[in-house]
Amino acid sequence: MSDNLLRVQPIRNGTVIDHIKASRGKKVLDILNLSGSDTTISLLINVQSKIQKRKDIIKIEDRELNEIEIEKLALLSPDAIVNIIRNYSVADKIKIEIPEFISEIVHCPNENCICNNERSVSTNFKLLNKENLQIKCTYCGRKMDEENINFI
């Protein structure tokens, strides 16, 4: 039995988020607000990986991620892989992708932007660069990189 399995047991139903950028797992938990839910969650930090040098893994029991959560995850760790587990086996493997337009999940930092000042307008960002994450508000044009993204 490998070390990883000894550390954390396989889950019967739920989601395993694999290949999260090392040390990013805690932030993923916070942003997706998973620690507030009442299911069992395991977070593995700095796991040895063949693909990346180190990675984080999150196992969430009895819960599958929805589209918005997957979009947020893509911004936090674009290389992560979402495994949907049903009855101990991988029912679905989702290669996440940052969409070309990112709506409703990120705050615009420009207080004078119309999207922060008008009811019923949701924020909208265009993806400029995937590798060195950079997005741009489609309203005011403000650009943001990975470090200063604020989730709604």
Partner: protein, 301 residues
């Protein structure tokens, strides 16, 4: 072409064709020739923030082409619309007219309006954001005064940090292979987000004298007192960036000075009668340029 939210909505070919049409429309703009190209058409001017120059030039342009205008100019109009969202106000106004000019204190307002409007939205300035017709009239002025837009050496002087006209103009001129000289105190330097996108050669300078003789165009902006916590600092800086006719002895004979106006005292009145002064013609150029744009957006339907 549907809406004009940003100068980026126009490619170089569309810009050149608008400038060419603006040039043809000069006699109509001056009232020497009549046009009824937009007869029966209505332009809404919705100014949620006052801007007399922009509003009057749009209204003049529309009327010179035989069209008419409705709208509001009063900043208190925003309180008349209290409770109503901008989106709802634009949906209403777009049903009353063939195009809408929008001036608004928030960045991105014109983009939002363009998402809900059935008729063309023209951005007449959105907060610290875009003001594409100003950029077009600046480009038109340079082309008319110098004879071309390509391969010029253009200096920008004054408040380059907060002046949105110089941001948009720099990015637009860069598309025409312009070498840009940014001349300002360090505290008012051109922001990185503008210079990062420039593909041609550019340089920064603390004083004008060192580069003046190289320039084809000098674009002057106002240094605003509000930017300086200390009045003495303001006086010192503003004094160092003042243009007068003696200073211009070193300039190329055909070098032209532009300024978006209103000026305070950054250009001495003794420059007004020199062959370098182009800023009053520049202010007038707002009319033919906006006429060309209105024709394109409303007349070609």
């Amino acid at each position: 072409m549907k809406h004009i939210v940003s100068i980026e909505d126009l490619d170089n070919k569309s810009i050149m064709s608008l400038l060419k049409r603006a040039s043809e429309l000069l006699p109509v703009a001056e009232g020497k020739k009549k046009s009824d190209k937009l007869k029966g058409k209505i332009l809404s001017t919705c100014f949620f923030e006052p801007s007399t120059r922009t509003r009057l030039s749009f209204e003049s342009a529309m009327q010179r082409l035989g069209g008419s205008c409705i709208g509001f100019a009063d900043p208190s109009a925003t309180s008349h619309l209290k409770g109503e969202t901008l989106s709802d106000a634009i949906r209403m106004v777009s049903g009353y007219s063939d195009a809408v000019v929008l001036r608004h204190p928030r960045e991105g307002a014109a983009k939002l309006a363009s998402e809900v409007s059935d008729v063309p939205i023209i951005n007449g300035g959105d907060g610290a954001g875009q003001h594409p017709t100003q950029t077009l009239l600046d480009l038109f002025t340079i082309k008319e005064e110098i004879g071309k837009l390509e391969n010029l050496k253009v200096g920008m002087l004054g408040d380059l940090r907060y002046g949105r006209t110089v941001h948009s103009l720099s990015q637009a001129l860069d598309r025409f292979n312009t070498k840009l000289y940014f001349i300002s105190p360090e505290s008012l330097a051109m922001p990185d987000h503008v210079t990062d996108e420039l593909t041609n050669d550019w340089s920064t300078h603390q004083n004008l004298e060192s580069v003046l003789s190289e320039l084809d165009v000098l674009y002057v902006t106002r240094i605003q007192k509000e930017r300086f916590p200390d009045v003495e600092d303001y006086k010192r800086v503003a004094g160092a960036y003042r243009i007068n006719s003696e200073l211009l002895n070193n300039a190329k004979p055909k070098m032209k000075i532009l300024h978006p106006l209103p000026r305070v005292d950054e250009i001495s009145t003794n420059v007004d009668n020199t062959k370098h002064a182009a800023y009053f013609r520049q202010a007038f150029n707002g009319i033919p340029v906006r006429m060309a744009l209105l024709e394109k957006l409303i007349g070609d339907k």
